[in-house]
Symmetry: C2
Subunit: 343 residues, 2 copies
Amino acid sequence: MGRVTIREVAALAGVSPSTVSRVLNGKDAGHMRPETKERVLAAIRTLDYTPAKAARTLRKKKTGVIAILIPDISNPFFSLLARGVAAVAFERGLSTLICDSDNSVEKETQYWDILLAEGVDGVVFVPVGRPNEAKVTRLRRRGVRIVVADRRVDGYPAVEADNQAGSAALAVHLLSAGYRRIAYLAGPAEVSTAADRLEGFVVALRVANIEPVAVLHGDFTYQSGYDLARRVLSRHPEVEALVAGNDLMAIGALRAAEDMGISVPGEVGIAGFDHVLPADLVRPRLTTVAVPAYEIGKEAMRQLLEGGEAVEGRVLPVELIVGESTPRRGGDSSGRTPTSDKS
Amino acid sequence: MGRVTIREVAALAGVSPSTVSRVLNGKDAGHMRPETKERVLAAIRTLDYTPAKAARTLRKKKTGVIAILIPDISNPFFSLLARGVAAVAFERGLSTLICDSDNSVEKETQYWDILLAEGVDGVVFVPVGRPNEAKVTRLRRRGVRIVVADRRVDGYPAVEADNQAGSAALAVHLLSAGYRRIAYLAGPAEVSTAADRLEGFVVALRVANIEPVAVLHGDFTYQSGYDLARRVLSRHPEVEALVAGNDLMAIGALRAAEDMGISVPGEVGIAGFDHVLPADLVRPRLTTVAVPAYEIGKEAMRQLLEGGEAVEGRVLPVELIVGESTPRRGGDSSGRTPTSDKS
DNA sequence: TTGAAAGCGCTAACAG
DNA sequence: CTGTTAGCGCTTTCAA
C-alpha cells in the first residue's frame, strides 16, 4: 500500500539514492558503470517502482503539465485541436490538462487561478472573448508560456488558420458560380476568427463591386445559425446564398430554410466554414472551408516548446471544399419568387 | 519571478507558517483569533500568494486530480460524459485529467502507468475493450478508486444506461409500426454496452415470436455502419428495417442506403442509439434512444466521491425518441422489389 | 564513478 | 490559540 520510494530501490540495488536518480534522469552519460546501471534497472523492475511526480516537481519546479484551455470540449473542432496539442505533448513526455471554460469568460477566469496553483508549464489557449489580462499576467510573470490558438490576441504568440484567404476563396467560388445576392451570418464580432472570416469575404466581394445583402452576427452555435437564417430569409426574399461563419451555423441555416419550405440548394445556396465532422453527415453536402484543427493544435504546442520570443502568429493554410449546397446558378438572378416566401 | 512561499506570508503577517497553513486549510474552526486570521488573509492578498500544489501533494499524498480515461474525446458522446465528470469534480475543487486512449487498448494500458506516476486520486474509466487487469490493480492497491462508466466490467462499480430497456422499447416501437424483417448492426461483442443493446432487442422481438433477419457486429464507427449496411441490404433484399447499435453506425447505414439508391424511410427504416448531436442534424430525423451521457458522467463522479463499497452498478433511465426514419409501415410486407436492389 | 547532505514548500503532530 | 519540528520523495551540488 505504501508507495515504493527511491531509497528502497537504492537499498535493493546496493547503491545510493542519487545513483538511482541519475539513472532515472539519464544523467549517466558515459560516466556510470554499466553494471551499476543494470542493477538499478533490475531493482526498479522487481519493486515495480514509479517515481512520484509531486516530489520531482517540487524539486525541479517544473510540473511537465501543459494546460489546454478551450471554450467547449464537446465541439468537435476544439476536441480535434486538443488532440493535436496532446499528441505533441505526449511525444515529449508532457501531460496535458484539458480545461473547458464552457463558453464562459467567468469560468475561464477561474481557471487561470487553478492553473497558477497547479503550476502548469505552459498553456494553449483558445479564449472565449476578451481574456482577463490581470490573471493571465500573473502566470506570465512566473514564466509560464502561453500560446493562443485559432484566434489572435494582442501581445500573445498565436497559431491560426488563414481565415481571410479561406473566406476570399469561398467568395470567389460563389461569384463564379453565379451568386450575387449574398447574406453573411457571422460569428461574434469580438472574436478575431469571426471578424477575419467576415472581412475576408466582404473584401473579396467588393473587388467584384458587390456588397452583401445583409450581415448579421450570431455566436457560432447551431441555434444562432437557425435564427439568423430565418430572419434573413423572411426579410430578404431576393437572397441567393447564405454564408455562415462556421459549419454549425450553416447547418442551422440549412434547417431554417427547410422549415420555411425553401429548398437548398434549389432556391438558396448555403456555405459554412471549418469542415468539422457533422458537416459531412448533412445533405446536401456543405460547401465549406477546411480548417486544420488538429494541425493548429500541434503547431501551437510546438510554439509553446520552442518558445521563440516571436509574438508573431503562425498562419496555417486552409482549403475550399465545394459541396452540393452551392451549385452553379442558372441565368436567373431574380431570387425566390415572392410566393414561395412563407416566412 | 521566484514563487511566493508560505514563510514569506507568515513573516509579513507576523505569525508562523503553521498558522498560515491552518488558515489555508480551514483548520481554524473556532480556535483562532479572528484578528490573526485577518492578518494572514491580508498578507496573502498583498503578496498575491498561491499555495504550491506539488508541495501540498507531497505532504498529503493526495493530488486532488481525477482522471477521465475514455476511448475518444472527439466522439460527442464521450466528450459530454467527460463534461459531466468535470462539472462535479469542479464543484468539489478537484481537477480533471482527460486521457484519450484513442480506441487502443495499448495506449489505454500506457495511461495506467502515467496515472500511477501522476498519482491521481480516482479514475472514471470507459474501457476500450477488456482492460489490462495487472496495471489497473496496481492503482487499486494504492487506494485509487476506479468507476467504470457506460460499460460493465466485473469487479468494478459502474454507472451505465439502461441499454436493455431502451432496446426493448425500440423493438416494441418497430413491431407496432409494422416492421417484421429487421437486421441488427451491433457494436463490438466484447463491450457490454453493445451486448446489452443487442440482447434487449432480440429478447423483445422474441416475445413477438420474431427473429432478426441478420445480426452483424461492427465497431461503433460511422464506417462500420456503412459497410455492414451495404452487406445486409444486398444480401437480404427483404429487410424492412436496420437497427444499429449506436447513432454513428445508424448514420453510416443511412448513407449506405442512399448510395445504393434505396430510399429511407420509404423502402427501409433505420434506427440508432445514443441520441448524440450529429443524429439531430441528419435527415430523415433518426429514431433513436436518448442516453444521458452528461448524467452518466456526473453520476460516475459522484460514485467516485461517495466511494460506497457498492460494486453494484447504477443504471440510468433512457428515453425512446421516435423520428422520421421509422414511420408506420403500410400492409405491404414484401420488402423492396428485387429490381431496386442495386448492390 | 558514486555517496552524503541539504533542501524544494507544505502540513501535521506535539508542545506550550 | 500558536509555534517548533520533522519530514513527504526527489534532485543536485559538493566531496570523495
